[in-house]
Symmetry: C2
Subunit: 284 residues, 2 copies
């Protein structure tokens, strides 16, 4: 069976998506990798890290700080416009561009790099948007250095998502979000399948370290950051367009979801929890 | 409305339940508390910690090691027989009993301790078994020292549970586990409601730190520990008896679930992920 290869990013890079993504740092979104990374940098200060599907690049910039002064991050994405934004973010963080971090357009299905070119390859929430995640893992492994290079992957498990209070419009939002992802050819249960995918890509089980990590939105500031991004996404984002186009939700329902997030932002005892699968693969 | 107060532990303390619980340590089940605990011990080496509903006591003993040499853990449970086992475990860990850790029968609804008697009060997977978790939180707050004492709570969110591969008998197992808990008066969505519960108990939002933590079973050893405990629970535990008694599952289905876990243990790419809500409350 041939699987259609996608080289667009289905959720889009509109303002809502970018804002939501800028909350992300190495500490809140790649903590599972940090102890490995710190050991790797001690052993090799000139460490080369590839960040695949870097988007607005806040995790990339955050990872680059762990590699100072000699290591380097190359952040890739399929979108030129988001890379321009990622570059501006890196500069705002005091990182040298291109000394500490550089940017290049690339498709995860055909990375324009030599075999084994990177000591560490990292991808965050990339595979869940792909119809053929195993092929993408094979390609990322190809550019990972044999003999101890690391491939680090973190993927949402879209079904491992819980909100409190259970405002009906927000439960409906979750359902629409998952159905839109799946309609775009994405994976709704990526987190729990990461081990399975890397084994299908030819990795041995003993070379995989597995964990689950979470995102927690509950403080007033985090509720506002998340809720406003979701509202913008519902007002202007591709999730809105897709859901309407495919008949997954009506305009009236979308208006209800916006009011739902507005209510949730103002609710003192509100929480949102999301679980993500994580693997660190040691390439032999 | 009066809520019936339970002073038995619904899942029971049969061998399967105990075995499963002995996997638990402070590091894999109370990591969210450790930085707070380490700061508290530095400020007050004579720290007094109450562990409520300690069960087989492996987390209690593990926490006691962080309080050495001067601090002390008092571990309570409603079952004498499980406390005897917890005491034996503590002794096997080289802890002085009662110098570093002691044991006392107690009901979370009516703790036999003075107001403000403890610097830190900890409870792990206790509230999800109670019909009235907010009352139990009030009682635990009562015995927490005012002016900076800590109450640390961690609760499963039974719906935030994912298994791979999705063997049908294991999905059925999950459903039966949740329905049995609820039929016993427990809480299926405790993790996401912890903030709400502590606010209902009179805590201010600004005195609560919220997180979500996970359990991950995927390595061959962890799969065996989890899977065998579930099989024993299905063969001889109270979950089996309750499910049969209440007509939630048939004997034939239970046999299927046992075969499901046997298959899962032997599956190289299997994973199980569980998300837990966590709060640290600073008592003012």
């Amino acid at each position: 069976m041939t699987t259609p290869q996608r080289n667009t990013y289905a959720p889009g890079h509109d303002a809502s998506q970018v804002k939501h993504h800028e909350w992300r740092t190495a500490e809140n979104s790649a903590a599972y990798l940090l102890p490995h990374l710190q050991r790797a940098v001690q052993a090799n200060p000139n460490l080369q890290l590839l960040d695949v599907g870097a988007g607005s690049g806040t995790i990339s910039a955050s990872l680059a700080k762990y590699l100072l002064p000699e290591g380097h991050v190359l952040a890739t994405d399929i979108s030129d416009s988001i890379l321009a934004r990622a570059k501006a973010h890196a500069e705002s963080q005091g990182l040298g561009v291109p000394k500490n971090i550089s940017f290049q357009k690339a498709d995860v299905h055909a990375l324009p790099f030599a075999d084994g070119a990177f000591d560490v390859v990292h991808a965050h929430q990339v595979l869940c948007h792909l119809a053929s995640p195993v092929d993408a893992i094979r390609e990322m492994l190809r550019v990972t250095r044999p003999g101890g290079g690391l491939l680090a992957l973190r993927e949402s498990d879209m079904r491992m998502w819980c909100v409190w209070p259970e405002i009906p419009a927000l439960l409906r939002f979750h359902e629409v979000m998952v159905r839109t992802l799946v309609a775009n050819g994405g994976q709704e249960k990526g987190g729990r399948q990461l081990v399975s995918w890397v084994l299908q890509a030819g990795v041995r089980r003993e070379d995989v370290e597995v964990s689950f990590g979470t995102w927690c939105y509950s403080s007033a500031g985090d509720r506002r950051a998340w809720g406003e991004a979701m509202i913008e996404r519902l007002r202007t984002g591709q999730m809105r367009d897709k859901a309407l186009e495919m008949g997954i939700a009506t305009e009236e329902e979308i208006e209800g979801m916006i009011r739902g997030w507005e209510e949730w932002i103002e609710t003192d005892d509100a929480t949102l929890g999301i679980m993500n699968g994580e693997v660190v693969v040691r390439r032999t």
